[in-house]
């Protein structure tokens, strides 16, 4: 399994993270998955979300109502939500215990580190089907010609 996206999309995530700094940004990754969820995933576009957690800059929440709307929208396009991205302000691009506790299986969770407002490395993870562990997954960044 791997997550594929263009460098332009990755740049968009990095910019979103920098703009939200020192708070966290979050959003959904919309695309396709090969072999009904058994193969790799490809991101076609991003859906920057409204972070519904405003009480704490170290948390993000995408509300179920927002997700239901998005689900309907992407299904009409013949796409699906393949995962989510969020930023870690001044923390490494690795899942926190809180991330892991709240993760869903199958989805890709892409995390980008924002250091003092500057976007740094990004990495993607998926949840172990047995919980409570997240495994890194290969991130394939495609250069657009």
């Amino acid at each position: 399994m791997s997550l594929r996206l263009t460098d332009a999309l990755l740049e968009e995530i990095r910019r979103h993270g920098a703009a939200a700094y020192p708070a966290e940004c979050c959003g959904a990754m919309v695309g396709r998955s090969a072999g009904n969820g058994t193969g790799g995933k490809e991101v076609v576009r991003l859906w920057p979300a409204v972070n519904r957690r405003t009480d704490d800059p170290h948390r993000y929440l995408i509300a179920p109502d927002d997700l239901r709307r998005l689900e309907r929208e992407v299904r009409a396009e013949g796409l699906e939500i393949v995962g989510y991205y969020h930023s870690h302000p001044d923390h490494p691009a690795a899942p926190s215990a809180y991330d892991t506790a709240h993760a869903w299986p199958w989805y890709s969770y892409l995390i980008v580190r924002i250091e003092q407002g500057q976007p740094r490395e990004a990495a993607s993870y998926t949840l172990d089907p047995e919980r409570p562990l997240m495994h890194p997954e290969p991130l394939e960044v495609l250069s657009e010609v």
Partner: protein, 477 residues
């Protein structure tokens, strides 16, 4: 009875790829039990160890979140669709390492909080980590600091410079008869730490001013404004906007109060609501106009409530709303507040970038109040005993104040009636006016002078000075 359960993409690996499952059952809970029995792998993703749904798992019966229905007890009918909708949550690790742990004694003390999912252990730890500054330990500061201390707020800063006076105890319940004459800081600290020894009280023995406000407020997460005057209210507002802090506002007068949360990052500030202060003297203070003692209990409790909600992130904050309370009618009203795009402080093109002179801004000292001639209490006593017939003594207070006490031989003409009742007065007589402490009396003098009376004086310090020095048996208020 067959209900369709729709399975979201991330969970289809556990249903053999199926995006929907048909199940029987009379309630949502029974349907879910059936789902877990058929597809055991789902359990650890949907349920907590205690058998309750994970908090990021949402169930919609047709189009309604079951939390708005009877939760898992909600009855279902054939043809209903039960949809599993994820909430997506996460965050960086900072908070987990920073939040202080709760001791066993604290768990017991806060057990009624911990039973509320909206507070829980995480919320209680946030309360413990929180640093709240209350401006003033008076009418509003008393109930709100008591409730914040009891709720487990870890650090409460208090700014005050006053001492406990007998007239305070009708409403300032953090103080007591045993602390009369002590500083309010000392008195409040003793009571609050008795209520909750886990609490750290930080005392700021000062009048909040443009010189110290930023330095003091910077150290706190939330500011609760319990002040009773306009210069400090604007000062607190401006400092909070400049420092990006939420300002939990409350004010009281007689039988009415109001409360809001001003937080410029998310809504309006106090200046968006009141861009200019009222002219000095137009709005009487509680010391002049009185206040029902329970009223600050209600408004201060609302402030404590909003502070706690901000800390734990629960519910709908009062940001952008002003609550108006009328104690005599027992009515709450609510006004929507909009952020003013032209606000000089938090608008699109702010012109205020630092603290200003708030006394001058509120017109205090800028336009010198009328200063007419005064007579001291001792001299008035002499004059009244020697030539009582030549002196007209006018009490310009209100009838209910007259009932508390008045000077023998005085005539009651409340200030508001004075302009219409001037014809009653002998144009050549010597007039002495008095009020409670001297300020209304000075206004009366101004009115009388304007009407042509030249031989007028005001009793310095009002009936309060008279009671203190001439008639020790007289009631004071």
């Amino acid at each position: 009875m067959s209900v369709t359960v729709t399975i979201p993409t991330p969970l289809r690996g556990f249903t053999g790829g199926a995006d929907a499952v048909e199940l029987g059952g009379g309630t949502v809970g029974e349907v879910i039990d059936g789902l877990l029995a058929a597809h055991g792998g789902l359990k650890r993703h949907l349920m907590q160890d205690d058998g309750r749904l994970r908090n990021f798992v949402n169930l919609y019966l047709n189009d309604t979140d079951i939390r708005h229905l009877a939760s898992t007890e909600t009855p279902v009918q054939a043809g209903d669709v039960l949809t599993i909708v994820p909430s997506i949550a996460g965050g960086s690790p900072a908070v987990e390492t920073e939040l202080p742990k709760l001791s066993h004694a604290e768990v017991l003390r806060y057990s009624r909080h911990l039973l509320l999912p909206e507070v829980g252990v995480e919320g209680q730890r946030k309360l413990k980590a929180a640093r709240v500054l209350t401006i003033g330990a008076g009418g509003l500061g008393s109930p709100l600091s008591l409730y914040l201390a009891a709720a487990g707020v870890g650090t409460i800063g208090i700014v005050d410079f006053d001492v406990v006076d007998l007239t305070n105890l009708q409403r300032q319940i953090v103080h007591g008869t045993s602390t009369l004459g002590k500083t309010k800081l000392e008195s409040a600290k003793a009571r609050l730490t008795d209520l909750n020894p886990n609490l750290k009280v930080e005392s700021h023995d000062a009048r909040l001013s443009a010189a110290n406000a930023l330095e003091i407020i910077r150290e706190y997460d939330i500011v609760v404004d319990g002040t009773d005057n306009f210069p400090t209210r604007y000062l607190v507002n401006d400092a909070c906007v400049l420092l990006d802090k939420p300002n939990v506002y409350g004010s009281i007068f007689r039988f009415e109060g109001q409360a809001s949360v001003f937080y410029a990052k998310e809504g309006p500030c106090y200046r968006c609501l009141y861009s200019e202060p009222p002219p000095p003297g137009l709005v009487p203070s509680c010391a002049e106009g009185g206040v029902l003692g329970v009223l600050p209990g209600i408004i201060g409790s609302i402030q404590a409530l909003e502070t706690i909600k901000l800390i734990i992130g629960a519910g709908d904050s009062l940001i952008g709303r002003l609550v108006l309370f009328d104690a005599l009618k027992l009515k709450f009203r609510e006004l929507k507040l909009r952020k003013d795009p032209d606000c000089p402080l938090c608008g699109e093109h702010p012109t205020i970038h630092e603290l200003i002179d708030y006394e001058a801004f509120c017109g205090i000292g800028a336009v010198p109040a009328y200063q007419g001639p005064e007579i001291v209490a001792e001299q008035l006593k002499d004059e009244l005993s020697q030539k009582a017939d030549d002196v007209i003594l006018i009490d310009v207070r209100e009838p209910h104040e007259w009932e508390i006490a008045h000077i023998e031989g005085a005539r009651l003409i409340p200030l508001g009636q004075l302009p219409d009742r001037i014809p009653e007065l002998d144009g050549h007589a010597e007039i002495v006016t008095y009020c409670h402490k001297g300020s209304r009396s000075m206004k009366a003098l101004e009115i009388l002078r304007g009407a042509g009376h030249s031989r007028v004086r005001s009793l310095a310090g009002g009936i309060d000075a008279w009671a203190a020095r001439i008639e020790p048996g007289m009631a004071r208020y």
